[in-house]
């Protein structure tokens, strides 16, 4: 177990290090951010002064070393705009993003797993065909557009929910549904195929032969077996959810990391971008770690090892 944890931590460090390195050089290669802050006709001396001030006149490797040294201590510099601590700004936005992502995940699971199970059990019936059809269409809908449509119907027309901002449960409804849409479609498909696979297994026949009612057979036995592939697939999909959160936040002006990141990219406020990348890479790695533990919990063949 300790071995496993150490291995994973090393992996996470490598991933985060590489992500930061790549993004750092990409950003520096793309040009000098100072020009963005000054009027286009600013005199050369003023530009130089600014570059000096922000440290952009030094050789690239020095800047990189400096940046990494800071990053190790959680120091990503200050926002080029507001002068506040970059990591602090990102961290302050974390709770809002978590709120959105976890609610959306929970909503998708609550809808998708029963739907997928039922679809598999009623395979090739009208119900199954309808649910597969809906998931196919659901996967073709860009979630930002779905968000816009929800805003149009529920905020503009019906005036049931606010169209933007955060702070109350009412604010959450539309963004959470928007973010959940895509995951629901994928999770229904995962669950259905995992369940179909399990239902054809010999051990399910054994349980049936013991006189087990269909409901117990599915809800207790087959579901636990299918959870192994379902968990794996969902974990692989959390990156998509995290990415979707960024876009959803932009649509609803949700005050989370995604919106901050989008604005900072717009403004070339790179310390914030780097801090954001750092946090997202870590979150993603932690999610994967939790998944592995869950996986071991449902799969005894791994647990014993």
């Amino acid at each position: 177990m300790l071995d496993f944890i150490v291995k994973r931590v090393v992996q996470v460090v490598i991933v985060v290090f590489l992500a930061l390195t790549v993004v750092f050089f990409l950003i520096r290669l793309s040009g000098d951010p100072t020009t963005l802050f000054l009027p286009p006709d600013a005199p050369k001396e003023q530009i130089e002064e600014y570059r000096e001030l922000l440290g952009f006149n030094r050789p690239l490797y020095v800047q990189y070393a400096e940046f990494m040294k800071g990053a190790v201590h959680g120091d990503f510099g200050e926002s080029l705009r507001s002068g506040e601590d970059a990591l602090g700004l990102v961290m302050a936005r974390m709770p809002a993003t978590f709120q959105l992502a976890i609610s959306a995940l929970a909503l998708s699971l609550i809808i998708a797993i029963p739907l997928g199970v039922l679809s598999a059990y009623k395979r090739n019936t009208l119900f199954d065909k309808a649910s597969v059809g809906i998931t196919v269409i659901g996967q073709a809908i860009p979630n930002f557009w779905f968000g816009l449509i929800l805003i149009f119907i529920f905020a503009a027309q019906l005036k049931l929910f606010p169209s933007s901002g955060g702070g109350s449960v009412k604010h959450m409804v539309l963004p959470v549904i928007t973010l959940a849409l895509y995951s629901v479609s994928r999770f229904v498909r995962f669950t259905r195929s995992a369940m179909l696979d399990v239902l054809s297994k010999d051990y399910i026949r054994t349980t049936k032969a013991a006189g087990t009612p269909t409901s117990t057979l599915i809800m207790k036995y087959a579901l636990k077996n299918s959870l192994i592939p379902i968990i794996t697939l969902i974990a692989l999909d959390l990156g998509v959810l995290l990415g979707g959160a960024v876009i959803t936040e932009a649509v609803f002006s949700w005050p989370g990391v995604g919106r901050l990141l989008q604005q900072s990219l717009m403004n070339r406020d790179f310390p914030i971008v780097l801090a954001g990348v750092f946090i997202i890479a870590i979150i993603y790695a932690v999610i994967n770690f939790i998944t592995d533990i869950l996986y071991a919990y449902v799969n005894p063949q791994i647990r014993v090892k």
Binding site: Y203, R205, T206, A209, T212, P213
Partner: protein, 329 residues
């Protein structure tokens, strides 16, 4: 005469496939008395597994249909029994041991959890009594350290041990009928012998009927009182065990006996029946075995034989027509 426990009359089962409807079971008749062991023998594709699934009520619901005949179990017509009622029999009065011990146990539940399922469904037992009953049955089937095994997972057990667990699962509720579908085929030879020995012992201890499905006449000789031989979805011969071996009436049975290794020891080559069991859609109007039968003549190709009987010995072969009565050698 002892009471009949299971009676199958003129059973016909159809399956829907991608290409249309096929009928793998075409009029099967046999009965099983209380306490008797009946062997059902045939190559793969002969329909023996489908028949056993029908007795268990485990035929795939949407894909298959019983189109003719009836199954009576313990004087109850179970042919078209609703799943809800069938559930009360399954694992309780009728149990089944499957061919594949490696894949027939659920990998994510402990042995104890899986064994308590039939007890939960059929016996209103307290949790403590259930545990006791399970440990008891595991000991009966010769599993050492039963107390620990109940907390272990299938992958921690060997193939032979898993098959013992499967047997104990089938025996938990003291069934009246135990169906064994090739219970030793997937096992090593030495383990096979152990499992057969165990089955014999259980049979002698418990008052139950056994339906023993196998392709191996040797196993039948060791286990059974009576044998039915299945070919292409019908029973071609049925007789008491010694009678069948001494005096096989159907060329197919004769072929099966001849391909037993013990009868071949002096021959240089192992005998085998040429060709394969025809698929359900390949069977014409004549005898289904005619194309592989060394004794086949005009009549065999023209029409299918009815069942002829000589006392308790039944066979479905034109050679046994009363005016002909050929003894095959």
């Amino acid at each position: 005469m002892t009471e009949v426990l299971l009676e199958i009359k003129d059973l016909g089962i159809q399956f829907k496939t991608g290409e249309g409807v096929v009928q793998p079971i075409r009029g099967v008749n046999f009965s099983l008395k209380k306490g008797e062991t009946l062997g059902v023998v045939g190559e793969s594709g002969s329909g023996k597994s489908v028949t056993s699934l029908a007795i268990m009520g485990l035929l795939p619901e949407k894909k298959s249909k019983i189109v003719s005949g009836s199954i009576h179990f313990n004087n109850q017509d179970v042919t078209h029994l609703k799943d809800r009622q069938f559930r009360k029999l399954r694992g309780n009065e009728i149990s089944m041991i499957f061919q594949e011990p490696m894949t027939s146990l659920n990998p994510v539940f402990t042995i104890g959890e899986q064994l308590s399922e039939p007890l939960k469904q059929h016996k209103k037992m307290a949790k403590k009594d259930r545990k006791e009953a399970i440990i008891n049955i595991l000991k009966q089937v010769g599993i050492p350290r039963a107390e620990q095994i109940i907390n272990e997972y299938p992958h921690q057990l060997s193939g032979g041990m898993r098959q013992r667990v499967m047997i104990s699962l089938a025996l938990l509720c003291d069934p009246k009928l135990l169906i064994c579908d090739e219970p030793t085929t997937a096992l090593d030879v030495t383990i096979q012998a152990q499992i057969l020995e165990l089955m014999k012992q259980i049979k002698s201890e418990k008052d139950m009927s056994l339906l023993f499905i196998t392709h191996d006449l040797g196993v039948v000789a060791e286990m059974c009182d009576r044998v039915v031989v299945m070919y292409a979805g019908e029973i071609v011969e049925s007789a008491e065990i010694n009678e069948l071996f001494d005096n096989p009436l159907h060329p197919y049975t004769k072929g099966l006996i001849d391909s037993l290794p013990t009868n071949n020891t002096r021959k240089s080559r192992l005998f085998s029946i040429k060709g394969q069991v025809p698929r359900p859609d390949e069977i014409g109007k004549g005898c289904a075995f005619a194309n592989r039968c060394p004794y086949a003549f005009d009549k065999c190709i023209a029409s299918a034989p009815p069942t002829f009987s000589t006392g308790e010995h039944l066979s479905k072969c034109w050679l046994q027509e009363p005016e002909r009565q050929v003894k095959i050698q």
